[in-house]
Each structure stands twice: as C-alpha cells, then as structure tokens.
C-alpha cells in the first residue's frame, strides 16, 4: 500500500518563551499507509489531540512538514485541508450546528467539496439519499430529518457527526475520543459504526481513545504517545500478542482512567 500521510519531525510548542511553555509535540514522525486504521493512546496531556489538530490545521506547527497524498499541506489553513479530512470531536456539541435540522447539517457536510453558491441548500434528491443512508445507521434518524440537532442525544449526535465526516469519503478520518462523552451503550454503538465507516470504503483513520481495550480491538495498528513523542508503534503479529496488562507494564501508564 502506498503512503498516504507523511508526518516528518513536527514540533508544536504552546506559549513559547512564557512560564507556561509546553512542548506538546516533540519531533513527531508518523507515516500512514492507505487503508490504515490507527488507534492512538497515551496519558492525559501526552499530545494526542495536538497531533490530530496539527494534522487538521487547527494549529500551525513550529517545525517539520505534513504531506498528504503527495501534497505538502503544512501551510494550508484548516478549512482548506478539510476537503480531504473528516473529523469527529470528543464534545458531541462540536460536530454539528445545533440550531439547524439534521438534513441541513447533512447537506452542509455533503457539499463540502463542491461550490457553495446560491443553488438550493438541499434538494429532494439529497433528502432521498440522506434518508436511505441514515436508515443504515439503524438509529431512527431517517425519521427525524427535519428535527433540530439540539434535540438529539449525545450518541445520536456523534453518530450523525461521524456520518457527516465520512459522507464525502475523505482521504483521512480523524477521531478525537469521540466516544468518551457517551454512556457505554451509545459508545459501543458509535464504535461499531466507526468500524463500518472506516471499512467501506476503506478510509485511512486515526482514532484517539482513552480505552486501551478498544485501542487494541479496533483498527490494524496502535501507537502510544508520551510527553509529546510516539513511544510505541505496533501492528500485525506484535499487536495481536499485546494485552492491556502488558501495555500498562511496559509504559507505566497511570491506569486510573485508561484501563477499561
């Protein structure tokens, strides 16, 4: 498989030169191949979200380069990178426009890579397509398409956001603890949906999770971050042999929040 994302030596420092100076990413390099589904684990403050945000262009990096599909995107602003990336945030409020309807939200995501001119925001053909695709989520959202998103539960919102992130089949799917705010039942539903989104069609996925079991269960590769560096990168045989206990032992992770 061909390399899709090449991150070379990126460094991100917050509050440089102040007492609060924090090196959130310290010369991180990471290469993702097409179809990779990589899970990311690590302590609070290890730099996981910063890594994702630097890839998405939320923060400009201080050093290094980011190449996506042979195109150097290091200097591109966030909204210009977005055409190749789908994102789901930890906070279920962050992924959707709460005062707009489900179908309006979907339409905004659906027209991501097309002109935003004065043609109708949503057509009846779009509605049909959305209804059909939503019914595959099996969350009953297809019957609520004209309901405002603020009326949905956290799980429904995350499912919708995930669906919106994947609908344009981006090159890269970036998920930042997108199930952390959900109750266990909703979380497992959204995770199952994540697997489906990442599989068909095969989207290159980077998923941060605080749950080590999930990290080993989903995807084909797992990386562990610590103090702004990637300190473990396993896949294949090595990953299959890995267990949560061994992970804790190996990297002396605080296991209060991360164990289950």
């Amino acid at each position: 498989m061909k390399n899709l994302l090449e991150i070379k030596d990126i460094t991100k420092v917050f509050g440089e030169g102040t007492v609060n100076e924090k090196v959130a990413l310290n010369s991180v390099s990471l290469t993702l191949r097409e179809g990779d589904f990589v899970t990311v684990i690590g302590n609070n403050g290890a730099g996981k979200s910063t890594l994702l945000n630097c890839i998405a262009g939320v923060y400009a990096i201080d050093k290094g380069s980011i190449v996506l599909d042979d195109k150097d995107i290091t200097k591109l602003p966030e909204h210009k990178r977005a055409r190749w990336m789908g994102r789901v945030f930890q906070d279920p409020l962050k992924g959707t426009a709460f005062d707009m309807t489900i179908e309006e939200n979907l339409a905004i995501a659906y027209y991501k890579n097309r002109s935003r001119g004065l043609s109708p925001g949503i057509t009846s053909k779009d509605r049909e397509l959305f209804r059909e695709k939503l019914s595959m989520l099996e969350m009953g959202l297809e019957d609520k398409m004209t309901q405002k998103v603020k009326l949905l539960s956290g799980g429904q919102r995350q499912a919708l956001t995930l669906f919106m992130a994947a609908i344009t089949e981006p090159k890269l799917l970036l998920l930042d603890e997108h199930t952390a705010a959900l109750d266990p039942a909703a979380a497992s539903k959204v995770l199952a949906l994540t697997d489906r989104c990442a599989e068909d069609p095969k989207l290159c996925t980077l998923m941060i999770t605080h749950n080590m079991k999930d990290a080993l269960k989903h995807g084909n590769r797992t990386i562990l971050m610590k103090d702004g560096r990637i300190v473990m990168d396993i896949s294949g045989e090595e990953r299959e042999q890995m267990t949560v206990e061994k992970l804790i032992e190996k990297f002396s992770i605080d296991n209060d929040r991360m164990l289950l």
């Binding site: 998405a56 602003p77 966030e78 909204h79 210009k80 977005a82 055409r83 990336m85 789908g86 994102r87 945030f89 409020l93 962050k94 992924g95 959707t96 426009a97 709460f98 005062d99 707009m100 309006e104 939200n105 339409a107 905004i108 995501a109 027209y111 991501k112 890579n113 097309r114 002109s115 935003r116 001119g117 004065l118 043609s119 109708p120 925001g121 949503i122 919106m164 992130a165």
Partner: protein
C-alpha cells in the same frame, strides 16, 4: 389613554422601517451570534447618503441603494478589523461606529442636519400614487416583504446554510471546508447593508438626516428581535424573520402608546431603555422557563390586542 388612529398608522409606518433594521441586527446577533455595534454608525451612513442624493435631486430609489451600500461598507470594515486584525467583535464595531461619525459628517458636507422637505423622496412618490394616509405603510410593507423573501431565499441556499451554521458552530463550519472569516465578512456586510437601507428609508420618511440620530439604534434593533422572539416564537427560519419584523413594529407601537399615557417626547430614550429591559428580561426568562414566558407573552399579546 389609547393612542389615536393616526398615531397608530404613524407607528406602523415607522415600524416597517425599523423592521428592516431589526432584520439587519438579526443577521449579526442571531445568525452570526456576534455582538455588532457598528449599527449606530452605519444607520447614519445610510441616512447621510440617502439625504445627500435626494437633496441633490437624485433618484430617491437609487439613494436607497446607495444607503445600503454605504452601510455594507461600514460592516465590511468592522468585519475586516475583526477577522484580519483579530480585534474583538465588540471593539471593532465600536471603532467603526466612532470613525463613522466623522465620515458621515463628511458625506453630509459638514452640516449636522440635511432637510429634505423640498426634495423628492420615495414617500412623496408613494403619496402621489396611493391615498397618502396609507401610502407610507404600503411602501414600507412592500420593501419589507421583498427583503424578507430575498433573505429567506438566501438563507436556504448552500451558502446560506453554512452562513447560518457559522453562528452555531465555527468548528463544524471549518471542518466542512468553509472559512468562517469569509462568512463573518459576508454577514456583517449584509447586516449593515440592511441597517444602512433602514437609515436611508428613515431619512426620506422623516424628511431630514441628522448626524446624531444613530444613538441607541443597535439597542432598538436588538430589542425588536428579542421582543419578536418572545412573542412570536423561533420555530422555523421564516418564523424568525417575520418575528423580528413584527417585534420592531410592536416596539414602535409601544413607544407611541407611551406618549399617550403622559410621557414627554424627551422621555423617549428612557422609555426605549425600559422596553429593552422588559424585552431582555422576557427573553432571559424564556431561556430559563418557557412556561413562564409563554404566560407573559400571552399576557402581553392580550394587552396589545386590547
């Protein structure tokens, strides 16, 4: 004491104009979720341009377009200060409002007041066609309906969708490949364009432009929006646009009524402020307890109908 029928018609006529202002304020405060204080300046820009063109014998309809463009320019500058120079939205608005005072004076040829009693205005043209008693109301209503229709159509386009989402959730808009800065520029220009148009209409309606008449306009616009929301609801997009307009009209009626219960015309700013406080309180209660608001709204509605 209830106001006379003529006074009621007068406040309806003014209400149509203030409804345009309210729609402008709705775009910035509600759709973009941005407190924009440019309004007190851009409305006078609209008045000044409108008055200068009319006084110079120009086409009063062109004068209105000029007024809208002038207001839009002011909004665009606020937007640029905010998005490019990263100045806080409130401060950017205040700065432009301040600067607009000098610019407006220059537009008016350094006189603080331009009378239009001898010039052709859209209202005088309407008076010649329709019965003068209702001409102003009909003209205002036609303009208002056109604006609501255009605004509604725009907000239902692809561009309109992301524009609306910007006020809800900037992260989502960026994640969907759209620059929030561009949306804010567009929104502030549109919003103040409407405000400028309202100013242009106001100058022609009262047959003068005054450099000091911008004070408190933003507050009046916001109060109209909130009053409309509390009483007429926010369920659909069309409902919200109509509610903001009706809020403005209701506001004018309340103000006119205050004169008839013994307030002096010099007390009007005080009355304005009181209406705003009541509207804001009702809006606040609305967030806390929709039940109580519905009750007070019903109460007010009954009062108004009586």
């Amino acid at each position: 004491m209830i106001m006379t029928f003529a006074a009621f018609l007068g406040s309806l006529e003014l209400g149509m104009i203030y409804a345009v202002l309210a729609l402008g304020v709705f775009l910035s405060f509600r759709t973009l979720n941005m407190p924009d204080l440019t309004v007190d300046g851009s409305i006078v820009t609209g008045m000044a341009i409108s008055a200068v063109i009319c006084a110079g014998g120009g086409n009063p309809f062109l004068a209105l377009i000029g007024a809208a463009l002038g207001g839009a320019a002011a909004g665009l500058i606020t937007g640029l200060l905010h998005t490019k120079l990263k100045i806080q939205a409130i401060l950017a608005g205040i700065l432009v409002m301040l600067a607009a005072y000098s610019v407006n004076l220059r537009i008016m040829g350094k006189t603080p007041n331009i009378p239009l009693t001898k010039s052709t205005t859209v209202y005088k043209i309407a008076d010649g066609i329709l019965p003068p008693k209702y001409a102003g109301i009909v003209l205002g209503l036609v303009i208002l309906i056109i604006i609501i229709a255009l605004l509604y159509m725009f907000l239902e386009t692809r561009l309109g969708f992301v524009f609306r989402a910007t006020g809800d959730n900037e992260d989502m808009v960026k994640a969907c490949g759209v620059s929030c800065d561009n949306m804010k520029l567009l929104g502030l220009a549109l919003s103040n364009g409407l405000v400028g148009l309202a100013g242009g209409l106001l100058a022609q309606n009262q047959a003068f432009a005054d450099i000091n008449s911008g004070t408190g306009m933003m507050v009046i616009g916001l109060a109209s929006v909130i009053l409309g929301e509390v009483i007429f609801g926010t369920k659909t997009l069309m409902r919200r646009l109509v509610a903001a307009s009706l809020g403005a009209i209701l506001y004018r009626i309340l103000l006119a009524q205050a004169l008839y219960v013994g307030m002096e015309s010099t007390d009007m700013k005080l009355v304005s402020a009181i209406i705003v406080v009541i509207a804001l309180t009702l809006g606040l209660l609305g967030e806390k307890s929709s039940k109580l608001t519905r009750f007070s709204a019903k109460f007010i509605k009954r009062r108004v109908q009586r």
